[in-house]
Amino acid sequence: MAYGRGAAAVRAIDDVTLDIARGEFVAVVGPSGCGKSSLMKLISGLHPPLGGRLTVEGKPVTGPLRSVGMAFQNSNLLPWRTALENVLLPLEIVEPYRREFSKDRFSGKARALLESVGLHGFADKHPWELSGGMQQRTSICRALIHEPEILLLDEPFGALDAFTREELWMALRDLQAARKVTVMLVTHDLREAVFLADTVYVMSSRPGRIVRRCEVKLPRPRDLEVTYTQAFQDVVHELRSLIRG
C-alpha cells in the first residue's frame, strides 16, 4: 500500500501477511508511522490497496466490509445523538438490520450492550456529558452492535489516562471473552498488547513489515495483576527490544 502518487508516493506497507484465526485476539505493535493504521484501513476496506492482494476470509476486499466493526483513537461519536442513538447507528446502515430498523426494536439490545461495559444510566446522555473513557466505551459498543465477526481497534485507548485505560482493558477483555469476536488491535502500548492479545505482531518502520510474530502464552482469564509478573514483563521486554526508534 502506498500514499500519494508517482515519485512522491510513500510506501506505507510492504508485504504483510497476517494469519488470524476466528475468535483470536491479535495485536499489532510498532513504532510511530510504521503503517499500523494503514494496515487497519486496508483490512477494513476504507483504503483500496494499490498493489498486492488483500483477502479476508478468503474473499478479496474491494470495499468496506460489513462483517467488520471499527473503533478509532477518537471516539468519533456524533454529537447530536445520545449514546444510545450513537450505538444504534450501524443498525441504520448495515443489512439485514437496516431493512427492519426501528429505534424501539433495537434499543433494548443497545442498552444491554452499554450496560455490559458499565454504562448504566448513561444511554440517554449526549457525548459531551460523558467522560473520555465513557465515550470510548460507547464507541466500542457502536463497533459491536451489528455483531461483526471482526473488530478492528485503531489505538482505541491512546487518548485516555492510565487508569481509565486499564479499566477499558478489562471491559474489552470481558466483551471479547463473552462474544468470541475476532479482534485486531493496533496500538503502541506494549503492555496493552501483551495483556489483551493471544498473538502480537511487531512491525518495523516504513515501509512497514512484520518483523516478529509472538504468541502470548499467559493463561486466560488474565487479571490486571498479571501485568506485574515476571513472565509478563519478559514478553514486554522482548517486544520492546524489537522496536527501534
Binding site: 477494513s44 476496506g45 476504507l46 470495499g63 468496506p64 466490509l65 460489513r66 467488520v68 471499527m70 478509532f72 477518537n74 468519533n76 456524533l78 454529537p79 447530536w80 447507528l89 450501524p90 441504520e92 446502515i93 448495515v94 449526549h126 459531551w128 457502536r142 451489528h146
Partner: protein, 257 residues
C-alpha cells in the same frame, strides 16, 4: 430563569430601548426640531395610533411577502447548498456565478421584475427571495464541507453509501450553520420586500412610507420605520427560537455562561 438572568435578558434591553426613546424625545423638544425633519417619538406614536388601520393592512402585506420570499429562499437555499456541498465540481462551477449574482444590488433588479410581473406583491416576494437565499446556500455548503472526515469514516467503514453519509452525518452536522443563516436571511428578506415596495408596489409598508413622504407626512414615515424595526426583531426572534429548538447540541454549555 433566576433574577440575575431576568435582569440581563429582559430588564436591560427594555431599559435601553426606553432610554433611547426618552433621549430622542428630549433632543427634539429642547432643540425644537421641525416635525418635517425629525418628529419626536410622541408624534411618531401618535401617527402610529391615528393611522393604525392602513399601517396594519400594509404591514400585513409586507409580512406575508417577506415570509413567502423567505420560505422559497429556505427551500431553494437548502437544496442548492446540499447540491453544492455534495459535489466538488458543482461547487467549483456554481460558486463564482453565485457570488456574481449576489453582488448585483437587488434594487436594480426590481424594475425588471415589475416589467415581468407587473406592479403587485410578486416582485416583492421575488426580491425577498433573491436577496436572502445566498447566505443559506453558503452556510449549508460550508457546514457540509467542514464535516470531520473521521465522522464520515465511521459510516464508510460500515459500507454506507454517499447518500447515507449525507443523511446521517452531513446534514445533521450542517444544521447549526443552516439555522444560523436563517437569522441573517430573514432580516435580508425583510429588507428585500420593503426595497421592492419602495420602488414600485401598490401595497406594503414601503409603499405607505413612500406615499407619506410625498405628502410630507414625516411622522407616518417614522411610524413605518418603527413598525419595520419591530417586525424585524420579531422575525429574528422567531428564527432564533427555531434554531435553539433544533440545534441545542451545538450550543451546549452556553446557558450557564
Amino acid at each position: 430563569m433566576d433574577r440575575r438572568e431576568f435582569t440581563i435578558r429582559v430588564v436591560s434591553p427594555l431599559l435601553f430601548t426606553i432610554g433611547l426613546f426618552v433621549t430622542w424625545e428630549v433632543v427634539c423638544r429642547t432643540l425644537n426640531v421641525p416635525l418635517t425633519i425629525l418628529p419626536a417619538p410622541s408624534d411618531v406614536f401618535g401617527a402610529l395610533w391615528q393611522y393604525r388601520k392602513p399601517i396594519w393592512d400594509n404591514s400585513f402585506v409586507t409580512l406575508w411577502t417577506t415570509l413567502a420570499g423567505f420560505l422559497i429562499a429556505t427551500l431553494f437555499g437548502l437544496a442548492l447548498g446540499i447540491a453544492v456541498g455534495w459535489h466538488r465540481a458543482l461547487y467549483a462551477g456554481v460558486y463564482p456565478v453565485l457570488i456574481g449574482f449576489n453582488s448585483i444590488p437587488k434594487v436594480a433588479v426590481v424594475p425588471v421584475l415589475i416589467l415581468w410581473f407587473g406592479i403587485g406583491e410578486i416582485p416583492a416576494v421575488i426580491t425577498a427571495f433573491l436577496i436572502s437565499f445566498f447566505p443559506i446556500v453558503v452556510n449549508v455548503a460550508t457546514g457540509l464541507a467542514t464535516t470531520e472526515p473521521e465522522l464520515e469514516d465511521v459510516l464508510r467503514a460500515l459500507g454506507a453509501s454517499k447518500l447515507d453519509i449525507m443523511r446521517k452525518v452531513g446534514i445533521p452536522r450542517s444544521l447549526p450553520y443552516f439555522f444560523g443563516s436563517l437569522k441573517v436571511a430573514i432580516t435580508l428578506a425583510f429588507v428585500g420586500a420593503v426595497v421592492s415596495e419602495t420602488v414600485g408596489a401598490n401595497k406594503g409598508i414601503g409603499k405607505l412610507m413612500l406615499d407619506a413622504q410625498a405628502a410630507f407626512q414625516v411622522p407616518i414615515v417614522f411610524a413605518g420605520l418603527l413598525v419595520l424595526a419591530v417586525l424585524g426583531i420579531l422575525l429574528y426572534a422567531a428564527t432564533a427560537a427555531i434554531e435553539a429548538r433544533f440545534t441545542g447540541w451545538a450550543f451546549r454549555g452556553q446557558a450557564n455562561r
